[in-house]
Amino acid sequence: MVDDLYQETILDHSKRPRNHHPMDDANRKADGYNPLCGDKLRLYLKVEGDVVQDASFEGSGCAISTASASLMTDSLKGKTRAEALKLMEKFHELLTTDTPVQQDLGKLVVFCGVRDYPARVKCATLAWHTLKSALNNAGDPVSTE
């Protein structure tokens, strides 16, 4: 039922998003936009050397996109650029394929229910698309469309 999608952790992170604030000393920044639902998100990163030291976001969206941004920023801290991109790949796989859920995703596995809701995949990936743009430091806002 619908509880498979809105697992407790997702509801918790959507109601009390972590890292939900602007970051003054960020050195990477990117905007994401989902034109289908109007969700907008701004991602801040502090990257030192090759390592993401800190991550935060601003913006409002649905429970899935907010929880996704919250859990993503949590899981990024301390990761290298390559590790972050690898995590993005695995996360995308979790949402869009039927392969068994991989355990090394940590808390992100709570999004496994999204694969049964194709219309909501873009909600869960908005933050990650924005991450890619921030890491590549492309200035243009990314869009899910």
């Binding site: 619908v2 509801l11 639902c37 109007g38 969700d39 809701y117 219309a119 909600c123």
Partner: protein, 415 residues
């Protein structure tokens, strides 16, 4: 829910009507389908499905050319829809009925054909704050091309256009006033007759986007005195891919063709082509014949039920729905015009429309969530999106109750 009237009193046999719509008889995620997305597209009665099936099974041929029996049958059936559309809109002649793909193409035909030849630098086009993107973007494109200016009639908190402000926008440079008869995002019924009169007094023409009006009310283009009126077949219980643009003969005759190709010509040589008469001048290429025939069946079906009855029943249903939703704490209805049709757009405190839509879907309830192709409307209300339940005459008070129960479930999940 105790203070909500449980009955819709008008004499209208909705259960009998529902028998005509096969799609309604199914379960979604184990629950009976509650279809509340008719403003996006309406469901189709057997009459329409059967007409399309008959065309492909029995009468299929291209129109307007063959001398053989099948071609004559398909031509007759297709052209019969033109007569039905003339009746549906109370047009003066059937030659004022131009078949298009839908409302969007109807508007684009006017901006391309009329607009390119009549709008010049410094001219002004007036639209309204509650338009669908399809009645904004084509005019914007035209204005950009011509160096003309787009002006927008503002609305009030209820989602009603402010006519005093509209009056001020009209001037000697106003060439066209284009507005929705009924707003898709808010349900507002605009005072079309009055707005057209005001435009004409200023020497401007009018285009009415009737996409959301045609399924819900009687339309009379002669009484309205609209210069152009357009609607989509699929919102009026017909197939997708077909719609109607009505225009006054004098205007249509003066306009150049929209697209070039077969059917819209009289003679073609490499030196010179002469164009066909109305309405064919605007209908290049083989049209969507099956959908055209299906639209005829839909217009017959609606006429049989009666638009007066439909409007009266839906009015009661909308009232019932408004009351039911108003009792849900934290829910705010967006669009509370005094004259309103068939749309319940709303937001819920702290809960995003997409989450509402997903939870409702799991209970078999189909609503639309998002900006409804009316982003300026959303911006005006400072919201990113709404949840929209839109009604048709096949909906019931019990379905409204299901929606209300579903929204209480939404609150349980996200409360």
């Amino acid at each position: 829910m105790s203070t909500v009237r449980k009955e819709v009193s008008i004499g209208f046999d909705v259960e009998k009507v529902r028998e005509d719509f096969p799609v309604l008889k199914q379960t979604i995620h184990g629950k009976p389908l509650v279809y509340l997305d008719s403003a996006a597209t309406a469901q189709k009665p057997f009459a329409v499905i059967d007409a399309i099936r008959k065309f492909y099974e029995v009468d299929c041929a291209n129109i307007h050319r063959g001398v053989h029996e099948l071609s004559q049958r398909s031509t007759a059936a297709y052209e019969e829809t033109r007569v039905k559309a003339k009746r549906f809109l109370n047009a003066r002649t059937k030659n004022e009925i131009i078949f298009v793909r839908g409302t969007t193409e109807g508007i684009n035909l006017v901006t391309s054909s009329w607009g390119r030849h009549n709008v010049n630098q410094g001219d002004e086009i007036v639209i309204s704050a509650l338009e669908h993107h399809s009645n904004i973007v084509p005019w914007q494109m035209l204005c950009e091309e011509k160096g003309a200016k787009l002006r927008v009639i503002p609305m009030n908190d209820r989602g009603e256009l402010i006519l005093e402000e509209y009056e001020k926008l009209l001037g000697p440079r106003t060439r066209m006033v284009a507005f929705a008869h009924v707003s898709n995002a808010l349900g507002t019924i605009n005072p079309a007759r009055q707005m057209i009169e005001m435009a004409h007094a200023a020497g401007a023409l009018t285009l009415v986007d009737g996409a959301q009006a045609a399924p819900h009310m009687k339309i009379d283009v002669q009484a309205l005195d609209s210069d152009f009126y357009t609607f989509s077949g699929h919102k009026v219980f017909g197939p997708t891919g077909i719609g109607v643009l009505h225009g006054k003969t004098k205007l249509l005759n003066a306009m150049p063709p929209y697209q070039g190709g077969g059917d819209m010509i009289r003679t073609v040589t490499f030196e010179k082509t002469t164009y066909n008469d109305l309405p064919y001048k605007f209908e290049a290429g083989t049209p969507n014949i099956a959908s055209g025939i299906g639209l005829g069946a839909a217009l017959d079906y609606v006429a049989r039920i009666g638009l007066d009855k439909i409007a009266a029943y839906e009015h009661e249903l909308l009232h019932y729905g408004t009351q039911a939703l108003s009792q849900i704490p934290g829910l705010r209805i967006i669009g509370t015009a005094r004259e309103k049709a068939a749309v319940l757009s709303f937001v819920m405190e702290g809960i995003h429309p997409h989450d509402i839509g997903t939870v409702l879907d799991r209970q078999g309830i189909a609503v639309r969530t998002g900006h409804h192709c009316a982003q300026p409307v959303m911006d005006w209300f400072h919201i990113p999106a709404t949840t929209r339940a839109s009604l048709a005459f096949y909906n019931t008070p019990a379905e409204i109750d299901a929606l209300a129960a579903g929204l209480n479930k939404v609150k349980e999940v996200f409360g």
